[in-house]
């Protein structure tokens, strides 16, 4: 295996609600190296909570515990809030689902990206850096895009602005939570090609959280399948079709496919034992 950037052992996330304790993530262990790791699961499986727990962005009613959570030389499990400030955004970037909600609506795209730059640059230097990074995410006319407000950007453009912003501090690991779900299929492929290229050229690690099995199977190197807060299966993405866990098999069988002549789709019969 590739030298891991991030190693997680025994991660659990529990939320306290007025009625009961919700154990959203239960004792999961995994590692991410300079590769594309997909985390797939249905809604409520704990995949997004896992992504946020790594950056300690769990809301106040949640508690994160882990036997070990090591990111390069930093012990995330025991890191203080001050230490986390040097991790979030700087060492580990996060890309969210919908650029419409995650960009500041009243600030020009370029200025938002410039906020991520280290202090002490002149205005001209900062602008130059922003234009460079916009080019890195394949924006063809960076000077024009610099001056756009988020509402003037298309979905694909907005998502690229967000990726650009995340790249400025040169993080080692990117956590992308459904980064292409809000995008149209044709634009989606372009954004994926850009991510793919960045992982390869900059040697980044990418945690790709998604509900789309087909996409993960074709885009990632490795896949973790989550169900009810646990990782039920881990395999090479190219071997997802030969997955052995009945949940993974059930999910794959329930997908409609072009050219498949089944009249009815297989439905998933959930075994309570999977959630134990």
């Amino acid at each position: 295996m590739i030298t891991p950037l991030l190693e997680v052992e025994g991660l659990s996330v529990t939320f306290k609600t007025p009625h009961r304790l919700v154990r959203a993530v239960r004792d999961i262990s995994f590692a991410v190296g300079k590769e594309k790791v997909g985390i797939v699961g249905e809604s409520g499986s704990g995949k997004s909570v896992t992504g946020r727990a790594i950056l300690k962005l769990t809301p106040g009613n949640g508690t994160v515990s882990a036997r070990r959570m090591q990111f390069e030389e930093i012990d995330l499990a025991n890191a203080s809030e001050t230490e986390m400030l040097n991790v979030r955004g700087k060492r580990i970037g996060m890309i969210l689902q919908d650029p419409k909600f995650s960009l500041d609506p009243v600030m020009r795209a370029g200025d938002q990206i410039a906020e991520a730059l280290p202090p002490g640059l002149t205005k001209a230097e900062a602008r130059e850096r922003v234009l460079e990074v916009l080019e890195a995410v394949q924006i063809r006319n960076p000077k024009r895009v610099y001056d756009l407000y988020p509402h003037e950007c298309s979905g694909g453009m907005g998502q690229r602005v967000m990726i650009a912003m995340m790249l400025v501090p040169e993080p080692k690991l990117l956590i992308a939570d459904e980064p292409t779900s809000a995008l149209d299929v044709t634009v989606r492929m372009q954004v994926l090609a850009i991510l793919d290229d960045l992982v390869e050229r900059r040697g980044l690690g990418l945690m790709f959280i998604s509900h789309d099995l087909n996409l993960v199977a074709t885009f990632c190197d490795r896949v973790l399948i989550m169900y009810a807060g646990r990782i039920v299966e881990e395999c090479k993405a190219s071997e997802l079709r030969q997955a052995t866990h009945p949940y993974t098999q059930g999910l794959l069988a329930s997908l409609p496919r072009i050219g498949d002549r089944r009249k009815r789709l297989a439905t998933l019969v959930r075994d309570p034992a999977w959630a134990l």
């Binding site: 249905e42 809604s43 394949q138 063809r140 006319n141 149209d184 299929v185 044709t186 989606r188 492929m189 372009q190 994926l192 090609a193 850009i194 793919d196 290229d197 509900h211 099995l213 087909n214 996409l215 199977a217 074709t218 885009f219 059930g250 999910l251 329930s254 997908l255 409609p256 496919r257 072009i258 050219g259 498949d260 009249k263 009815r264 789709l265 297989a266 439905t267 998933l268």
Partner: protein, 263 residues
């Protein structure tokens, strides 16, 4: 069942006017399942809303079941045509029980034997009478979509308009709802007009489909044509390829092509 000729829908006035649907024509035969596929903003839902009578501001010629439609609809129209919406969290009244939701169409159309009808339709959508007095918040997304389908079925329509009926659901639940729709079509001979961005869902459910982009129908083809890749339009090919998953070579080529076009 449906004949649409030169349907045009515009929003806004003067300079700000947007032509959402631009002279679209298609025909759906009785008992057929027809799909409208395209990406967000292509006008597919706008067509559906115009047909359903939810938007009165359109021009063109639309005949449903042989009768020419006026922008304003009579009550009898809604007994013939029903619609199921995308988001089962938004399309059910939160303060109505399942019973309340299903009683509404019965009252409006003054139907007899309401209890019998509700029980039957709940069984038909696989929920059963136990669900009759539950509120939407007590139901899962899939169960809510079943209620929305029951609400459409209770009037025993001839045409069902389906607006992305499974895109808000997990794949395993999507399979259940698609199977339910297949069963309903088998047992009732309903005509379906299904709108979706997902080519694989449309190819699974429909006999024929139209590919839309920017308010126009680019091409119409049978599902068999699609499976055999007998499409003429580049756009259809792109949708087809994207539905197969990520392909590094193709996607990189697409980015490059856009670069050169300077778009």
């Amino acid at each position: 069942m449906i004949e649409v000729e030169d349907l045009t829908v515009r929003f806004g006035k003067g300079k700000a006017a947007v032509t959402a649907v631009d002279g679209v024509s298609f025909t759906v035969r009785t008992g057929e399942a027809f799909g409208l596929v395209g990406e967000s903003g292509c006008g597919k839902t706008t067509i559906l809303r115009a047909l359903a009578g939810l938007n009165e501001d359109w021009s063109g010629l639309v005949r449903i079941d042989g009768k020419q439609l006026m922008p304003k609809r009579e009550r009898a129209f809604y007994k013939l045509v029903q619609i199921v919406f995308q988001d089962p969290y938004g399309s059910l009244h939160p303060r109505f029980t399942v019973n309340g939701t299903l009683m509404e169409p019965i009252k409006i159309h003054d139907l007899d034997r309401p209890d019998e009808r509700i029980d039957r339709v709940l069984r038909q959508v696989g929920l059963g009478p136990a669900f009759r007095f539950r509120y939407p918040h007590q139901l899962s997304g899939g169960q809510r979509q079943r209620v929305a389908i029951a609400r459409a079925l209770i009037l025993e329509p001839k045409l069902m308009l389906l607006d992305e009926p499974t895109s808000a659901l997990d794949v395993s639940v999507q399979a259940e709802i698609l199977n339910l729709l297949t069963d309903i079509r088998d047992s009732t001979g309903l005509t379906f007009l299904l709108v979706s961005h997902d080519l694989s869902v449309v190819s699974h459910m429909c006999d024929r489909l139209a590919v839309m982009n920017q308010g126009r129908i680019y091409e119409e083809l049978t599902v068999e044509d699609l499976v055999q890749r007998r499409y003429r339009e580049t756009y259809t090919r792109q949708l087809f390829e994207a539905s197969l998953g990520y392909d590094k070579r193709l996607s990189t080529a697409q980015v490059k092509a856009l670069d050169e076009a300077g778009a």
